[in-house]
Symmetry: C2
Subunit: 375 residues, 2 copies
């Protein structure tokens, strides 16, 4: 028998059966009477997930589309912005801001390092229009301290825009308590729905900022989304089946309780980190995220071959090292709909893969370390 | 028993069981080894559907996102463009071009009227950078003669960009034979997949034009899509389950044969039109599309009440009149995965709904007229 496919990549994450079933139901017509009920229900159920009391909008796009929407709606050509770039997803902010002609002050951190909020204090000027940062940097497994950044920015006229694509559900992102003006997440990460929906929160301050934005937009015009959502519609066709899947996923999360989901991610990530160290390997990130663990590999181990072995022999998909870290990192995600035995399974597979490459340790060492966290 | 839901709206269209089953399969990781095989297979199977030999790109977006991508990649601020606006979807071209500061010459036609290609001849100037038009105007059921427009534009330096969102699969859109530089369609129309994938063809001439475009773009940067697709990836996360659904839908269409699918849409639309006239009603469009039939209602009939009756009593979703035509039109779509008995069912339901509003005719008249086309 072929092994059952098991996803431990940091998105898309495993799809719960209830979500698959919801997506196989008869499609809801986006101009019919049932759609506003679906849309409003999903929006309301998303709010406690961040948590937020701000407007929540859904776009037919990947998370990157939600990030671009944040930029083009609030900023104007030549505006000064600070971008926190500590990996591939921070670099996406830079690319978007560059495409739209913004004046970018990049806090360019070595991959694996977390932001020191003091750097925001140093760079912030009265004419800085926005700080754009990642919460969980998926390429390195680093968690940035958004609460501390928000504390610095909230008493200024600068907007705080946070890529929470891979952090939401793993970590709290309380936009109003902290002072985050726009937060972005996506369907295929902590929520456990296939990719295709970007989710954007918009604060009152961000709505006001939009009155002065001169960057061109039509598809990503968030005011048009707000007007349409108030009528229970999208300004263009929304991805209805994925939104039905979101409803099912949110029902699961509300049954679990979002605080419990945060704790689950913390326990699972802790278990993976303990196993990593017990196996004589190292956690790559200085300040690790609870969404995933990036494991730095010593020179005698080949990450690409290890991932290939785990995929072909055990059906396990891990994230690899991106860009210059290809082959030097493996990334084990516990993001989304993952339970304790899933975590122990991936560590078992990792042990067998490491032994196949001649890495020496007593079999069961990693699993044992994880069990002490989970048991 | 509640009636089974039956979609006769012009998108989303009914989802074939094989597509639902494909979307419920284990999700393919977009960075894993199976994804390039999926993506390249879908791109190759899409080409005969237009048909086209151009590059075909898939975006995580609705059709509107594909339309915006066509504009922002090929044009520059202040460029002169001609827009054919004969309904709500033609007006979308105007809105996009306006948002990006283009110099727009609008051919503003009354709703229900088809473009006279001579109007393009009159408006075309040496500095016109693009003609943007709809093929099948879904709000009115009108088909514009794209072959004739292409014949006028192809020997000039003007690009021809065609919204084929609701026409592809119902009508041929042979981009190379005619000379269409960019054609856009979407997953939820003729292809019978849920919404969330925009599909864009790009001619050699359009790629060259992109070298001179100065409009800002990042998410919709088609060159980045091309580079990523050449490696079997998307530049951002693509909607994997919907693309798996597309593969299944394309397999069905290739089994049927695209020429047969065009003929099927022609027969079905003809059957609906014959039934419409047999029932004493009128087809709204001067030059009707084979994707849907817009039926103009006399004053004593109420379109909104009629649609409500068909939905609650028979589970049938029709398209209504949009904007100023609300209540004055009903739109019956035969687009996508629809068979002969589906067509006869919707006409039966229409007959019963019309009789409930006191419209007089011999029961079975409409169905009989349709049967003479289909039998």
């Amino acid at each position: 028998m072929n092994p059952r496919p098991r996803l431990f990549a940091p998105g898309p994450t495993p799809i719960p059966d209830a979500v698959l079933a919801a997506m196989a139901e008869p499609l809801i017509y986006h101009r019919g009477p049932d759609f506003p009920v679906l849309l409003r229900g999903v929006v309301e159920k998303l709010k406690p997930i961040f948590p937020t009391v701000d407007d929540v909008l859904l776009l037919s796009a990947s998370g990157s589309g939600g990030m671009e929407a944040a930029v083009v709606n609030t900023l104007s050509r030549g505006d000064r912005v600070i971008v926190v770039q500590a990996g591939q997803f921070g670099a996406k902010w830079t690319a978007i801001c560059k495409a739209y002609g913004l004046d970018i002050d990049i806090i360019d951190l070595p991959w694996g390092q977390a932001l020191d909020p003091e750097q925001i204090v140093k760079r912030l000027t009265p004419d800085t229009r926005a700080v754009l940062t990642t919460q969980s940097e998926t390429s390195t497994g680093v968690l940035h301290n958004i609460a501390a950044v928000a504390q610095i920015v909230k008493h200024t006229d600068t907007l705080l825009i946070v890529d929470g694509v891979s952090s939401v559900v793993a970590h709290a992102l309380p936009t109003n308590d902290w002072g985050v003006d726009i937060a972005i997440t996506a369907s295929q990460k902590g929520l456990g729905v296939p990719p295709g929906v970007a989710i954007v929160t918009v604060s009152k301050r961000a709505w006001v900022a939009m009155n002065h934005s001169d960057l061109p937009k039509n598809y990503f015009d968030l005011k048009a989304y707000k007007t349409a959502f108030d009528e229970g519609r999208g300004p263009a066709t929304l991805p209805v089946t994925l939104i039905s899947g979101l409803r099912a996923a949110l029902n699961l999360l509300h049954t679990e309780g979002i605080e419990n989901a945060w704790k689950r991610h913390a326990r699972h990530a802790q278990a993976v980190r303990q196993a990593t160290e017990a196996l004589g390997l190292s956690v790559f990130a200085a300040c690790p995220s609870n969404a995933l663990t990036a494991i730095g590999l010593p020179k005698q181990l080949d990450g690409v071959a290890l991932m290939h072995h785990l995929l072909t022999r055990y059906g396990i998909t891990l994230g690899g090292g991106l860009a210059h870290l290809r082959g030097r990192l493996i990334r084990i995600s516990n993001l989304g709909h993952v339970d304790d035995l899933d975590i122990l399974s991936v560590i078992s597979a990792l042990e067998m893969g490491l032994r196949a490459q001649g890495w020496e340790f007593t079999p069961g060492t990693g699993v044992g370390a994880a069990e002490t966290v989970l048991g």
